[in-house]
């Protein structure tokens, strides 16, 4: 029997399964943090979590509200600062960056800065924060975002955080470290990846009950649809039990 679950739980489980054991991950608060915590308690017990403000490998007692709050270094290995975390990523020791964003395009570029004219914006968002740095430095960037046509656009109106920029070779040409870049996008409909050759976003697996057409309809550009598309396995009983009981018992994230 497939257990009952909501889309946020599906997203967190799908994201957690992409975090390999023994690797390092820089996370934001909310869903990415929940996914990293779930991964630690399931597939990746030796996953090391870093927070950009300086928290290293906390024994997370509760979901942090901020990437700098005291939970992010609670019984951790170190409490340092921005320079320590970012230089660790810059010299190639952080495997995954886990980001969100208002808009994303077919090359995985993210906008979290403005909509409309930069100098008199229609909407002003926070800006890069540490996202541009993590998306530049970490080997693999994973992005969690709701799937909607307004969010998945042909070209972001403001490129805050680099994906593959304008296509193959563009990151290297700009001076970004070779071999880094967007890796997976986890949405409420599917897990997306990037085509090796063209660096354009492609569908990897669709979540249970989701048709490929629905993903296409909710994407504002021609997403690559391979002949064979897997089904994302639904959250298992074990995943749900840990997610609900240990990772987010107050339902701060999964109750959204």
């Amino acid at each position: 029997m497939i257990p009952e679950y909501n889309t946020m739980e599906m997203m967190i489980c799908a994201a957690a399964r992409n975090l390999e054991d023994g690797k390092t991950v820089a996370v934001g608060t909310g869903a990415p943090c929940a996914a990293a915590m779930l991964a630690q308690k399931t597939v990746s017990p030796n996953l090391v979590i870093l927070f950009e403000a300086g928290g290293l490998a906390p024994t997370l007692p509760r979901m942090p509200i901020s990437v700098g709050d005291s939970r992010t270094f609670f019984r951790g290995l170190a409490a340092s600062g921005m320079i320590e975390t970012m230089t660790t990523a810059a010299r190639g020791m952080v495997d995954y960056a886990f980001l969100g964003g208002a808009q994303i395009d077919k090359y995985g570029n993210i906008n979290s800065t403005v909509v409309g004219d930069y100098y008199k914006p229609k909407v002003r968002f926070p800006g890069s924060g540490g996202a541009n740095d993590l998306g530049s430095f970490c080997w693999r960037t994973i992005i969690m975002t709701p799937h909607a046509k307004s969010r998945f656009v042909e070209k972001v109106s403001f490129n805050t955080t680099p994906g593959y920029l304008t296509g193959p070779g563009a990151r290297e040409e700009a001076g970004l470290p070779p071999g880094s870049g967007p890796y997976k996008i986890i949405t409420d409909l599917a897990v997306l990846g990037f085509d090796e050759q063209s660096k354009i976003m492609m569908i990897e697996s669709v979540h249970p009950g989701v048709e490929v057409d629905k993903v296409r309809e909710n994407t504002g550009f021609d997403i690559i649809v391979p002949d064979f598309i897997k089904k994302t396995p639904p959250p298992s009983d074990t995943e749900l039990k840990i997610l609900r009981g240990e990772v987010d018992p107050l339902r701060l994230i999964i109750g959204r």
Binding site: E52, F73, G81, M82, V123, P177
Partner: protein, 327 residues
């Protein structure tokens, strides 16, 4: 060295290290009693038009008491260093205090949502802006602390974040690799909240230091607010814990619960209900004005604000939450 590309927005502060050295040459090294009130510190070190940096992480270990005083003193035309700023930024927007802004993270309060009033202020087009990243701003401080005119980073490249910055792309003279050069910044004044300080300004911080070690060394003037003051002997018996030495410091303000409604690691957690109240009331500008009158402009000091927010009873709750006493 050739400049391959450059951002279009202004660099607000002069990155000349020799001018900074001239300033620091004259800065006092005397170990004197630097105690004063928030009000005196703002009066003396944060005049209209100065460029300000705030320590901590937006709603963690922030000098809220001094920021309230900046609003009450009706400071205007400040420059602001928008590095990981959240509730501090929200407060300065409420007072329309700044006109020039270096941006890495503004407007949002992380997972809590965006500040409607900060958005209105930023969307008005009144504020001169320049875009950066958190690391870029930390490196700008680090370069200033090192007494050089720029730092180099390997992020920002290829993006609009770079285009809308004041950074420049340069080529490495050794390897030919491209880097973003970011100018050193010596803020006129910084305010940092710490756990303990002596009357001279020697400071202890517990937990993450964010970019405060760099900020303290880059700022021309430094105001320290401390949860508690300790005797100089306390500093001398644990010298390895001194993260900010006295000679960087111009003012020491005793400020218990001074980071409220923000979090103070190992002492009290953030007051999420009150922070949400801010976000909620900001939706209606008229209501927000009344709110500001009640909580900021209509009170004479930070202690009164703490009283209005629930006083010792509330603070005890936040201490229990921080210490996880129920776990």
């Amino acid at each position: 060295m050739d400049v391959l590309e450059q951002g279009v927005n202004p660099v607000f502060m002069d990155p000349d290290p020799d001018k900074a050295r001239e300033f620091f040459a004259k800065k006092s090294r005397a170990m004197t009693d630097k105690r004063m009130t928030e009000k005196e510190a703002v009066e003396k070190f944060i005049p209209d038009g100065s460029y300000l940096g705030i320590g901590g992480f937006g709603a963690i270990r922030i000098p809220t008491a001094v920021i309230h005083e900046i609003l009450r003193a009706r400071r205007k035309n400040l420059g602001f260093f928008g590095h990981t700023s959240t509730h501090d930024f929200q407060l300065l927007c409420a007072g329309h205090c700044f006109k020039r802004l270096d941006v890495a993270y503004i407007v949002g309060l992380e997972a809590r949502g965006l500040s409607p009033n900060a958005r209105r202020y930023m969307e008005s087009g009144e504020v001169e802006v320049c875009e950066w990243t958190n690391y870029a701003l930390a490196v700008r401080l680090k370069a200033a602390a090192e007494g050089v005119s720029f730092g180099i980073i390997r992020s920002m490249l290829g993006t609009d974040t770079f285009k809308m910055s004041g950074a420049k792309v340069i080529e490495c003279p050794f390897t030919g690799k491209k880097y973003a050069a970011v100018p050193a910044i010596w803020p006129d004044v910084a305010v940092i909240h710490v756990h303990e300080a002596d009357i001279y300004g020697n400071c202890h911080i517990r937990g993450i230091t964010v970019a405060d070690l760099e900020l303290a060394r880059a700022a021309k003037h430094l105001i320290i607010t401390a949860e508690r003051l300790v005797g100089n002997l306390e500093i001398r018996i644990r010298p390895t814990r001194t993260v900010i030495p006295y000679y960087l410091v111009d003012a020491v303000v005793e400020s218990p619960f001074g980071s409220y409604p923000g979090n103070m690691p190992y002492m009290y957690y953030s007051d999420e209900a009150h922070l949400n109240q801010w976000l909620e009331v900001e939706k209606d500008p008229a209501e927000f004005e009344k709110f500001l009158e009640k909580y900021i402009y209509g009170v004479s000091c930070f202690e009164e604000y703490l009283e209005l927010c629930g006083g010792l009873r509330k603070l005890k709750e936040l201490q229990a939450l921080e210490m996880l006493v129920d776990k």
